[in-house]
């Protein structure tokens, strides 16, 4: 078990990691999800022992390893850049942790061949890493991490520099490869979809704070605060200031004289418990659509801005009062800009946050309509 106790990192007068507590169990896959500069890499480096925390302690299996040299820890790390030893062959690259550990030539040979087979590197064992494609280079780096049989494996956006196809392929393989080893896996990524595909646990990271840690699906479904919800939304989360009064959410700044039709939403059942007053409502871009998700879905009138067509889906940017939202529509959806359209909000998935950003009530666990 890896345990971070009040770990803090300050460098050059800037706080990179605010006091952080985290417990990662053996045999789990943990995703660090956060935008660039949120401190993912720093946190991984603190876990690896490449950097010493300014304050706090790192415990591994109950022992304090805070100041321990990285060589003595059983860690493996894979970087976003393809990091291999360019002067060695792929075989020697994979063999290097075993060679340092002083294993016999026979067992090194056996292990390297086995891992090379797993990572489909067998034909390239005699080549130099730089003569390989990016995917093969990264597979070499991953192979080196696997062969070490480390008890803590850190992956810092390992697939970010790969092309789409390879990324999908490796993403599907990685959890399987790693699940067998019983080590703690920490996988840093900027992409919410990657976290969901990998499953396991997710910690959402924002400006050096871990805002939430838990099962990936439950963090996604029930973010504890707006920051967590925003981190876990791609395209960006749609938010809007409303005022709850009785059984209605009214647009916060709707002036007098404006038609109240399409300017308010009925309070859905799961949010009925919250107190009257200002709330920030948030929903994922796929919970707003031109077609009604269920018969009595509430409608809002919005103005279209621009449609980005990606083929299988379209991202329609719309304006609602001062807020700009993104709506994901299936297939090609080419709406004229600057037209008023009526859109449906899937109010079952509405999230409500108070003025302090904390979640007021969680969306219900309901697997009959998939949230993915």
């Amino acid at each position: 078990m890896l345990e971070l106790i009040n770990v803090t990192k300050v460098a050059g007068g800037q706080t990179h990691i605010h006091p952080t507590n985290l417990k990662l169990e053996r045999g789990t896959l943990n995703v660090l999800l956060g935008p660039t500069l949120s401190g993912k890499t720093t946190l991984l480096r603190l876990m690896a022992g490449l950097e010493k925390p300014t304050a706090g302690e790192v415990h591994f299996d109950g022992a304090d390893v805070t100041g321990m040299a990285v060589q003595k820890r059983k860690v493996a790390m894979v970087y976003q850049q393809f990091i291999n030893y360019p002067a060695m062959t792929v075989y020697e690259n994979i063999a290097s942790p075993l060679r340092v550990a002083g294993e016999s030539q026979d067992s090194i040979d056996r292990e390297v061949k086995k891992v090379a087979e797993l990572m489909r590197l067998t034909p390239y064992l005699d080549r130099q890493p730089l003569s390989l494609s990016g995917g093969q280079q990264q597979r070499t780096a991953l192979a080196r991490a696997i062969v070490k049989k480390a008890s803590l494996v850190l992956l810092d956006e390992p697939l970010a520099n790969l092309d789409y196809k390879l990324r999908e392929e490796l993403r599907a393989e990685l959890p399987k490869i790693f699940a067998a080893s019983g080590a703690i896996f920490v996988y840093a990524t900027t992409e919410p979809s990657e976290a969901l595909l990998l499953g396991g646990n997710t910690a959402t990271l924002h400006e050096g704070h871990i805002s939430q840690f838990g099962k990936t699906i439950s963090v996604y479904r029930n973010p504890v605060d707006l920051i967590s919800a925003r981190t876990f939304a791609d395209p960006p989360l749609n938010t809007m200031a409303f005022v709850k009064s009785g059984r209605e959410f009214k647009v916060a700044d709707s002036g007098p004289g404006e038609a109240s039709a399409h300017k308010s939403l009925p309070v859905p059942a799961h949010l009925s418990g919250i107190a009257d007053g200002p709330v920030t409502l948030a929903f994922q871009p796929h919970h707003i659509s031109l077609a009604a998700p269920f018969p009595s879905a509430p409608k809002l009138r919005v103005k279209t801005l621009i449609s980005e067509i990606a083929g299988s889906e379209s991202f329609v940017h719309v304006e609602f009062g001062p807020s700009r939202w993104v709506m994901i529509e299936h297939g090609v959806c080419d709406l004229e800009p600057d037209t008023d359209v009526e859109v449906y909000i899937d109010s079952r998935h509405l999230m409500a946050f108070g003025s302090d950003g904390k979640a007021l009530a969680a969306a219900p666990h309901d697997d009959s309509h998939r949230a993915g």
Partner: protein, 287 residues
Amino acid sequence: MATQQSPSPAAATSVAHVKREGPKFSWIVPLVYIVFLMIPIYWLVVISFKSNFEVMNSFSIIPQDPTLRNYKVILTDSSWYLGYVNSITYVLMNMVISLLIALPAAYAFSRYRFVGDKHLFFWLLTNRMAPPAVFALPFFQLYSAFGLIDTHIAVALAHCLFNLPLAIWILEGFMSGIPKEIDETAYIDGYSFPKFFIKIFIPMIASGIGVAAFFCFMFSWVELLIARTLTTTSAKPISAIMTRTVSATGMDWGVLAAAGALTLIPGVLVIWFVRNYIAKGFALGRV
């Protein structure tokens, strides 16, 4: 050569004609330049195969009566050939010392931030800008005090003042081209720092070491003033010996030319071996 699609054949020929005109005579300029550069070297080699009589009394582009006497003099007379031995000795010593110090120094400059690192780095280069003559007197005084005059190590150390900054500068460029993550990966794999440095890092900057060694060699091999000031007899470099060929019978032109021709050989050899690395060094913008 690019050929253009043209509607009329006449226009096509004229285009082709114009295009061919340039490359056709463009070799003349470099050829003239190279011939100009090579004339002194050719002349040196030609003289080395002539007798003194021929050198003084006739003008011939090709030796009329080729002789190997001049080379025989150098290769049999110990006062001559020991000059080469001395030069090579201190040049190699200097290369080894410079690289052994420059490697860790350059690593520190490329990997760590410390107070005044940039100023120190620039100051190193300013050493290189000072003319060697400035240092001749202080070096002589200093080495006399330590009894190092007329030793190989004295010259080798003195040349470090000029070669070390250059070697650090070149190596730092090569080292900074290597991502820090490789260092960390090695530590994670379990390498200790010395093991990582020797087994992983040095092979990666091999070309940089080649380039740095080349520049150390070149400076040390051609430097005359300090080498002559710090030596008297037993460590005298070949370039200093060459300045003392005036004998009772006058100047021995043939032997002098032969010595000069032989002096060129190590330089040519070194350039031949590092020519690919030098190109790489230029590409990295540090040479």
